[in-house]
Amino acid sequence: MSGDPRDEIVEHLPALRAFALSLTRNGALADDMVQDSLVKAWTKIDSYQPGTNMRAWLFTILRNTYYSNRRKAGREVADVDGIYTASLSEKPAHDGRLQMTDFHAAFAKLNDEQREALILVGASGFSYEEAANMCGVAVGTIKSRTNRARARLAQLMHLDMGEALEMTDGATLAVISGNRTASVG
């Protein structure tokens, strides 16, 4: 006797909200997206194959909602939490625990696709293959998005890991110093 798979949706609510929040970085917008996604999931349950990863299915619905709204809006959603960006200056503590406001600010500076890849692979524990399926792109694309996202975060957080900066090649150094100069004005 198999129950209605829709009864399982509730178990994924916290994850769905976390994913929505990561994408939008805006609580109200995230909750509106979760609401839309829940209604879609409920009415389109036939497109869910029982036994497959329901969380991945729900995330896919949510990201499709997000990107279709973004397309309608005609441009990428602005940096809504730009206030944080101003505080993006401190170096991380030596134990590797970053200042959370700084991390949020750096995270918000990634583009949507990079942020999404990093959340799916780095935080939610999806495999590259699963994330690629959900985003409708090649596995290599997800890999390069996560790598670029990590590199960008490291750069924004001045996460140079001591000698790491010395090991960095000249081109990267130029980019880093160029960005610093640019951000100072």
């Binding site: 609401q35 790491a164 090991m167």
Partner: protein, 54 residues
């Protein structure tokens, strides 16, 4: 090789912080509106079934 190690260490630090941020979001209480919405949808469906829609 040292560069690879540093890169791996960087990724590790980033992912650890990322997981902490994500976990904070997971720990947030789910607003009642979503639970209400789900029970409404279920209610509608059950009413529909009673009216004989297949």
């Amino acid at each position: 090789m040292a560069q690879d190690r540093n890169k791996a260490r960087q990724s590790q630090v980033i992912d650890e912080n990322l997981k902490r941020v994500y976990q904070d979001m997971l720990d947030e209480k789910v607003p009642d509106r979503f639970l209400d919405l789900l029970s409404q949808l279920k209610q509608q469906q059950e009413n529909g079934n009673h009216e004989g829609s297949k």
